[in-house]
């Protein structure tokens, strides 16, 4: 009764590599990825080639592009081009760190809430509470407590994001933990932390990537809004958000101060979201099927 002849399985060396290749076949992922890579390269290398973004030159303030610097100067006579270049780093750092922290914490809490019945109500009620505290209040409170730094802004943006990630992860866990292979692992005597890491966590990856790209984009926007409200990143540090919020009074007079960082920000947020949508389309088998 042996049946040694297996159907010829496609030669697959590594599942992950093929996944990436599969994802890159999606046009959104490809082009969004290209744009993001360019921006990241610009952010890393750019600052070495531009003037000091904080150097003031008040006499030369509000000069249009061309006459003083590629993108003109702002109200303190700082070079908008070098601020935008340096801002790329800050904005990407804000976007990435908010996404990473929110996802990491949300994942941790979501796994626990979803898998351990006792913790569910407690964690979810706490999350409800967190969600009702506006980011602006947090930002100002944190800034007054520990001074305005990149970190306070990141924390202020992260905290309201966490409950949303927790909800998402929890909903995935609730369905996954009913899967027979999780029950099989329980039957095999696997301990809870291992089950979570080995069998539950991988299922949350696809929706989390999408959520993370969304958070990454919206964090960069929120950062600029905090700047607008006067509770953003310290003005000494250039970020796209605070360049725009500082330049907003000059919106009609010297639009370039807002225009250049605005275009960069829009492009980045767009690219990040396009990649996120693309990843969802390729990672979610049901949607991927429809897209074929």
């Amino acid at each position: 009764m042996t049946d040694a002849t297996l159907p010829a399985a496609p030669a697959e060396t590594s599942k992950d590599i093929s996944l990436i290749r599969h994802a890159l076949r999606n046009r959104g992922v490809f082009w969004g990825g290209v744009v993001l890579l360019l921006i990241a390269a610009f952010a890393i290398v750019g600052p070495f080639f531009v003037a000091d973004p904080t150097a003031l030159n008040p006499i030369n303030r509000l000069k249009p592009p061309g006459s003083a610097g590629l993108f003109g100067t702002d109200m303190l006579g700082r070079d908008v081009y070098s601020r935008v270049v340096n801002g790329a780093q800050i904005s990407l750092v804000v976007g990435l760190s908010v996404a990473v922290i929110a996802v990491a914490l949300g994942l941790f809490l979501g796994l626990i809430a979803g898998y351990i019945r006792l913790m569910d109500a407690l964690i979810m009620r706490l999350m409800d509470g967190l969600m009702s505290i506006p980011a602006i209040l947090l930002a100002i409170a944190l800034i007054s407590l520990s001074g305005a730094t990149l970190a306070t802004v990141v924390v202020a943006i992260v905290i309201p994001e966490i409950p949303r990630v927790v909800r998402l992860v929890r909903s995935v866990v609730l369905t996954v933990r009913e899967e027979p292979y999780v029950e099989a692992a329980i039957s095999a005597g696997t301990k809870v932390p291992t089950i979570l890491m080995r069998h539950v966590l991988p299922n949350t990856i696809a929706p989390l990537i999408v959520q993370a790209t969304y958070i990454c984009g919206s964090a960069m926007l929120t950062e600029s809004i905090l700047g607008f409200l006067g509770a953003g990143i310290p003005p000494e540090i250039p970020s796209w958000g605070n360049i725009m919020s500082e330049g907003r009074t000059f919106f009609q007079l010297t639009p370039w101060i807002i225009f250049f960082p605005g275009v960069c920000l829009a492009l980045t947020v767009l690219a990040v979201n396009v990649v996120g949508d693309g990843l969802r389309d390729t990672l979610d088998p049901r949607i991927a099927k429809a897209m074929r």
Binding site: T54, L56, L62, I143, A148, P234, P235, E236, L253
Partner: protein, 498 residues
């Protein structure tokens, strides 16, 4: 019915001009209250509610007789009792008021219309005090209202001024409505700053606060409002480009930019270090960065606003230099040990934010270690009260500005040299305090000028504060608005809409 639609410079958060010093509340006070004396264009106190007054031979007894026809909005006549109660409440909160009462033996209502002030000793600033133009202004309220604890807010907004406050239409954060007070009897004299005949020429004044400058400007250009009290200087070119809009400077004194050191903490506990810092403060850079168009600012090296009687240049070389190299040399001599300078930067106030950044750059160039800490203005106001070391929440520097009227003479708290009663930063200089005391009793104008020069000399030689220039906020209004009054404070009487 004519309505004047105004964008005020700030949100009217509360209504008690004695309880708070907020300028917007002061402006509100001028709408609904009247004062005994009022400052004219030349900063001389003129009678306003007072009809006649006389001073005794020894200068200690002052008798004031109220004008006829003064009535409160509720119809009750204004009496001497109301005046006494109002001045007493004011005297418990206002700095000049406290000084006046410190020198006063008694303040009494002799009859319905006569108030008698008896000084305990010689004091030269009686009319300057009760005719004070800026916060806190000794507004006259009904005695029952003035009976409120000065540290508690009043809840009854009955005044005797040219406009009536509409309490039920007040939306804090947004709208304040005033209507013309029909029974107000203006003086005969022509209007001159706060003094003269306060004639309400519109039926209604509506203040709508705009949190956003760009929107405020657009609303004015689109004709949705008539008057914009304090557009950002940088918006002036756009507003000027519109033929229907006039942009002009209405306040002859303007504002004085101010960099304040903490005299208690190193490195600024050393006068030489402070002077080295001041040497680097080139006013042109501050003004260009924060104000922009040179039309709206000028350099001013007198501690008293340029263009006012006490303006002088004694000891000003230190600030007039604006020279990094000189500052470097001066700092080198002090043996500065690299203690970081903590500058508090209020990010919600653009001008002060810009000042902070300019100072930071200059100090760095001079050789200071600088730590700029961004925060909101509220945090700054409470943190600046801390005398603790930096590690425990202290500070080394912050920036602010004074409206010219507030630093017009040596009595201003900004110039205090007494660290116990003085202003944040707590400068200490006995000679300075002596000179300020002398000013209070100085008789003649010349004597006053003399004392003022001494005060200024002391201020510069101890490097009390840095001075960043004199700048002017324009007002912008549509061409159908007529009759603006030149004054450091915005008044809405005498203005008509055509």
């Amino acid at each position: 019915e004519t309505t004047l639609r105004v964008i005020p410079h700030a949100d009217l958060k509360n209504l008690d001009p004695i309880w708070t010093t907020a300028y917007i509340t002061r402006n509100h006070g001028y709408m609904i209250y009247d004062t005994l004396f009022a400052m004219n264009e030349n900063f001389e106190p003129q009678p306003q509610m007072v009809d006649t007054w006389e001073t005794s031979e020894d200068g200690l007894t002052w008798t004031f007789v109220l004008r006829d026809g003064l009535t409160f909005h509720d119809g009750a006549p204004v009496t001497a009792t109301d005046v006494v109660a109002s001045l007493e409440r004011w005297g418990k909160r206002d700095g000049m008021g406290q000084q006046l009462f410190a020198n006063t033996a008694s303040l009494e209502a002799q009859d319905d219309k006569t108030v008698v002030l008896t000084l305990a000793n010689d004091y030269g600033l009686v009319l300057e005090s009760i005719g004070k133009i800026s916060s806190n202004v000794p507004f006259i309220m009904p005695a029952r209202v003035a009976a409120t604890d000065p540290f508690e807010q009043i809840t009854d907004f009955t005044g005797s001024g040219p406009f009536v406050f509409q309490a039920d239409e007040w939306v804090p954060g947004s709208t304040v409505v005033y209507t013309k007070f029909d029974d107000y009897v203006p003086r005969e004299e022509p209007v001159s700053a706060a003094s003269g005949g306060k004639v309400a020429k519109v039926d209604k004044v509506v203040w709508t606060y705009f949190p956003d400058q760009t929107t405020a400007m657009n609303a004015l250009m689109a004709g949705e409002v008539d008057f914009f009290e304090q557009p950002a200087n940088d918006l002036a070119p756009l507003l000027e480009a519109n033929p229907d809009i006039t942009v002009e400077v209405n306040d002859p004194l303007g504002n004085i930019g101010f960099a304040r050191f903490n005299h208690l903490l190193p490195p600024f506990d050393n006068a030489d270090v402070r002077r080295a810092a001041i040497m680097a403060m080139k006013q042109e850079d501050y003004m260009a960065a924060a104000v922009g168009d040179p039309k709206f600012w000028k350099t001013c090296y007198s501690v008293f606003p340029c263009g006012t009687p006490l303006d002088n240049d004694v000891g000003s070389e230190v600030i007039a230099k604006g020279d990094i190299d000189a500052a470097k040399a001066a700092l080198a001599e002090t043996g500065y040990d690299g203690t970081p300078v903590v500058i508090m930067q209020p990010t919600d106030i653009p001008i002060l934010s810009a000042f902070s950044l300019v100072t930071a750059e200059k100090l760095r160039n001079v050789g200071f270690e600088v730590d700029v800490q961004a925060m909101d203005w509220s945090t700054l106001t409470s943190r600046r009260a801390s005398r603790d070391p930096v590690a425990d929440g202290g500070w080394n520097m912050f920036h602010t500005w004074w409206i010219g009227a507030d630093v017009i003479d040596p009595m201003a708290i900004a110039f205090s040299g007494n660290p116990d009663a003085g202003w944040f930063g707590w400068a200490e200089d006995a000679a300075l305090e002596e000179a300020r005391a002398a000013f209070a009793v100085a008789g003649s104008e010349d004597e006053k000028k003399q004392v003022a020069q001494t005060v200024q000399d002391r201020l510069w030689s101890i490097g009390a504060s840095g001075q960043l220039g004199q700048f002017f906020n324009p007002v912008a209004y549509r061409s159908n608005v007529k009759g603006l009054i030149k004054s450091p404070v915005q008044f809405f009487w005498n203005i008509s809409i055509e």
